[in-house]
């Protein structure tokens, strides 16, 4: 067991996946000598060579489109999209090509591919560098969508995503890259990629969140505990498929659910969780499901992004509203 950051854990996970399977190759903008703008691939080109860690032309459609071809040839490409807001030029290849190809071929081809996307705001960036676009991809059948929140998941889930035979959109919480946590590289102590994880047990209100909001919700739970309210915090981890069993089991005990994400609320992951939970837990619910989300606006300029992003107080406010029913 050692203390490390999400960024370093991802780097170590990528390294281990590349050591384990020579078919694993990395492609993306500036991922070679520079190690990526967030240094997630630091040192990998030096150790694995320019053939396996490729600096791509600056063309996202080309990056994902050629990765599909490499997957068809038997490789396991891991592509880095430099920032969340830059993924849209690749939308066709993600949504119409890689997601559907296995189904179109009636299972005759496998499309093992990981699309890594640093996601979310809170870093004071210019526009297009702070977005949360997971709902687009979670809406698309054929993709798996994963959002990590801590170093242990970063290390183990990146390897699991690479080993999967389905395409995985892998969201990394960019403002948490340098947050520390415990990682045991010798023993996998985390659940499978498709499962949610109860990261803090509690009895009064269930809080379902993922990615960068897990830390926020854990802080909210700590603050609530000091005031005598017990929050159960669930890190969804997999956004497609959604592990509703874990959420429903918790809501059946607490009777209350608050969902939290940075992405805009309208038709977001929280909406899907709310719809499914009210159907499954109708007789257990003591209050309506309350969503805490970014507003339904374009991501704002950084000087007012704190007003957009859910924070500890907004989570606690939602918890209080839930408890008034």
């Amino acid at each position: 067991m050692a203390t490390t950051t999400i960024a370093k854990a991802l780097n170590a996970g990528l390294r281990r996946a590349m050591e384990a399977d020579a078919k694993v190759i990395l492609c993306g903008e500036d991922i070679g000598k520079l190690g990526g703008v967030f240094r997630i691939t630091e040192g990998l080109q030096k150790d694995f060579g320019e053939e396996r860690v490729m600096d791509s032309p600056l063309a996202e459609s080309g990056i994902v489109g050629t990765a599909i071809g490499m997957a068809l040839r038997g490789y396991r490409p891991v592509v880095e999209i430099q920032f969340d807001g830059f993924v849209y030029p690749a939308f066709d290849h993600i949504v119409s090509q890689v997601a559907k190809m296995r189904s179109r071929a009636l299972g005759h081809v496998q499309l093992p591919m990981v699309i890594r996307i640093p996601v979310g705001g809170g870093i004071g960036a210019v526009e297009h560098h702070s977005e949360s676009n997971e709902a687009y991809f979670a809406h698309t059948a054929g993709l798996r969508v994963v959002a990590i929140s801590n170093p242990a998941d970063a290390y183990w889930l990146i390897q699991e995503a690479i080993a999967a035979d389905d395409p995985v959109v892998f969201y990394e919480p960019k403002r948490r890259y340098w947050d520390k946590g415990e990682l045991d590289e010798t023993h996998r102590g985390v659940p499978p990629m498709s499962q949610a994880s109860v990261v803090r047990t509690g009895s009064d209100v269930t809080v379902a969140c993922y990615g960068p909001m897990v830390k926020t919700c854990l802080q909210a739970a700590q603050a609530a505990a000091e005031e005598g309210t017990s929050l159960e915090v669930i890190d969804l981890r997999s956004l497609s498929p959604l592990d509703l069993d874990t959420v429903a089991a918790s809501v059946e005990r607490t009777g209350r659910l608050v969902t939290v994400h940075e992405a805009s609320g309208f038709l977001g992951i929280g909406a899907e969780v709310a719809a499914q939970v009210q159907q499954r837990c109708f007789y257990s619910l003591e209050a309506p499901v309350i969503r805490v989300t970014g507003y339904d606006v374009p991501y704002p300029p950084s000087r007012i992004e704190e007003d957009f992003l859910p924070d500890l107080d907004r989570v606690l406010d939602a918890v209080d509203r839930s408890l008034t029913y």
Binding site: G62, G65, D92, Q97, K100, A105
Partner: protein, 380 residues
Amino acid sequence: MTPTAPRPATEGGPDMIQLLTPEGQRMHRREDQQYADIAAELSDEDLRGMYRDLVLIRRIDAEANALQRQGELGIWVSLLGQEAAQVGCGRALRPQDYAFPTYREHGVAWCRGVDPLNLLGLFRGVNHGGWDPNEKNFHLYTIVIGAQALHATGYAMGVNLDGAVATGDPERDTAVIAFFGDGATSQGDVNESFVFAAVHNAPVVFFCQNNQWAISEPNDRQTRIPLYQRARGFGFPGLRVDGNDVLASYAVSKAMLDRARDGQGPSFIEAFTYRMAAHTTSDDPSKYRVSAEVETWKLRDPILRFKAYLAHEGKADAAYFATIDAEADEMATYVRSGCLSMPDPPGTLMFDHVYAEQHAQLAAQRAEFVAYQAGFEGAH
């Protein structure tokens, strides 16, 4: 530099590589000698085989068109007029090569050995393609214009990583070919694929069938220079070949495929041809093009031209042509009966291949679907 305006849709210009006149006479342009040399290596049996491919694929296409008119296919995309470009190129491929088609490459599919009935499934609506691409190294049809050019380029990058180029082993050295049309050359994906292929020296041949019409839009809506000239700006050769001349199409394709297999990287072939039929069975070309243009291209029919060549060179006789016609009739019967007996798949098919490992939510949804359907059984 003053841009060169595209020539009329009937004129290939002096750079167009040709080995046969529209009347089927062998041409001997000095600048095309290297391609004549390649064509000269074809045996009489090869030449007759080419003719057979041309006739059979045209007949398959006609039968599919008729099946659409009779309501058996939802739509059909005719290759009429483009047989020589496809057969010439298709015959230049080796078994280990890999082809990424659009949705009109029935002739290439035929040359790869893909059962024509596989092609019909998509258009009948029983699947979205469904064949195993790795069985004949022929990828699924791609309908989003130009997307496959990137898949081909990535595949070729994988070939490079495998070291399957420039080994000198003809069974191992591999080329990849991306098919697309004139309209697709405007797509970002096609241009990005040129960039990636050039940067990676990928063993990929970009084969553009310029059939003059992107549904209703002529070449001047896509370009202001001849398409083959674009390749130079990306750093690899671009050639224009008479796409209605099967010998020239074969020879140019073979030269560029050999080049790719030999580690010399990408190239671009513009096969100058004509879409004799509508874009699809849903289209009405009388709204946007003049019949005189169609009549001009009728005189360049790729099959009549090649048949005349074979006949007066003594490569094939009337008895041979009659045999092929009879085989085409049999093929039409095969296509028709195969289409009519193609079963509709069960509704559960839509759930079954979405993921390599089906997840619990989808499994539950499938079970709900099955239960819902079962609720109707025995109902009146």
